[in-house]
Amino acid sequence: MFGFIQKRDLILTLTKYEFKLRYRGAALGVLWSLLAPFLLALVLYFVFRNIFAFVENFAIYVLVGVFVFRFFSVATSVGINSILGKSHLITKTNLNREFLPFATTISYAISSFIELLILIPIVLFLGAKIGFWLLFLPFLHVIYTIFVYGLNLLLSATMVYFRDLNQIWEVLTNVLFFASPIVYPISVIPEELRQIYMLNPITAIIELYRGVMIYNSIEISFLIYAIASSFLMFLAGYTAFKKLQTRFGEIL
């Protein structure tokens, strides 16, 4: 755990250049990465607005949902390759391997945070109630990042052994998109399935972001569940990674 502080130079440098290379040649940089989710949110809004007309301010409801989920989907789809795609660093150097998915996760966490900051004036303009609880946004983002990092540890290590995992994961991500309250409110889920439905940590996380960015409130039970599942995910991912990494050098 203390390794992260000790090796901050490595992490910062890897993150910095990953960030830099991602936006090379793109003068508008982060702005381009905003366009895709905006269009997606727009389409989803027009398709579903009549069905879910009862949701208060459905446009920003969808907008925040799409942007929050986007961090998860993009960071894991890239993070799943963070070991396999840098196999030369694994087989030829002795750097701590858990830093590779970490650098990827952090660089996407930063761009996601910038995207959310840009979103604030937009949702405000569209009628969101923003207030004191917005100060919670960075904290929420840290919790969410821990969750994504844990998952990326698990995914990137497993990917070394099963090279088709990314295709399976792509499908699962799409399933998760519809298994999370992004384009519909939780209230449409039948009462008897609600308990199972709420097990999805992404649900709690999305609702928390909506709380601070739209309703100026925070649901304590969601917060506790999000923190608990993030730390569990991290613990599970880290343990699995430590076990699986012993044979990276041979397989890659």
């Binding site: 130079d9 440098t13 290379l21 030369h88 030829k92 002795n94 995992l165």
Partner: protein, 238 residues
């Protein structure tokens, strides 16, 4: 100090290469999960004292690189143990992690931190690095415009800029022109005089003789001879 104690390493080579979950499931159902086993290292023991240079020679496929990787912690031994006191800097290949889209200076930083140095260490040595590599004019050029010689010089200069506690070098001294090679060897000597422990893998008997006081011959994964370079090279060449 490095102590290698009865280390063996087995590689499992699947008869058919399976790397997808789908193939793995298919093979499992058919009951075909065979491996050919291959011992890359068998019962290897030796010790390197602080401040020593050990030269390892041996034919291709004798397990030299596998041994270095085990000492570096990249591979894990199946049997035996490796004790290391001190921080290891392995140079198994030059320019690992270099990115063609970044400038030479950015790459020096990137490569440096990958090798385990601090940014501040690299910053204080950056002028020396470019002077040693004779690339002062190309600091801000993107690496994709470099020739392979320039690439290797930048990598080597960065790798040896600071004074590592333990250095593992695998066949990377034969880069650049003769004058650069000479300076590389001078730098290795200088590092060793300042206390760096070095394990050097090379195919060149002359280099081993010039740099090392002790040498080891590895053949088919086991230690065939260990002692003064003259004797070991005699055992190797015959």
């Amino acid at each position: 100090m490095i102590e290698v104690e009865r280390v063996s390493k087995k590689f499992r080579l699947p008869t058919e290469k399976r790397t997808t979950l789908f193939e793995e499931i298919l093979a499992f159902i058919k009951g075909k999960r065979e491996f050919t086993e291959f011992w890359a290292l068998k019962d290897v023991s030796f010790k390197v004292e602080n401040g020593e240079i050990l030269g390892i020679i041996g034919p291709n496929g004798s397990g030299k690189s596998t041994l270095l990787k085990i000492i570096a912690g990249i591979l894990y031994p199946d049997e035996g143990k490796v004790y290391v006191r001190g921080k290891i800097t392995p140079i198994l290949e030059l320019g690992v992690g270099f990115d063609p889209e970044l400038t030479a200076k950015e790459n020096a930083y990137l490569y440096g931190v990958i090798m385990g140095f601090k940014r501040s260490e690299i910053r204080s040595k950056i002028d020396e690095i470019f002077k040693f590599a004779e690339l002062e004019k190309f600091r801000n050029m993107k690496l994709k415009n470099f020739s392979s010689g320039m690439y290797a010089r930048l990598a080597f200069a960065t790798a040896v800029a600071t004074e590592p506690e333990i250095l593992l070098i695998d066949e990377v001294l034969a880069v650049g022109d003769i004058s650069f090679q000479k300076r590389c060897i001078e730098r290795i000597k200088e590092l060793n005089e300042n206390g760096t422990t070095i394990i050097l893998v090379s195919h060149s008997p002359n280099l081993i003789k010039e740099l090392c006081k002790r040498s080891m011959l590895l053949e088919n994964g086991s230690v065939k001879a260990i002692g003064s370079p003259e004797e070991v090279i005699k055992a190797y060449i015959g």
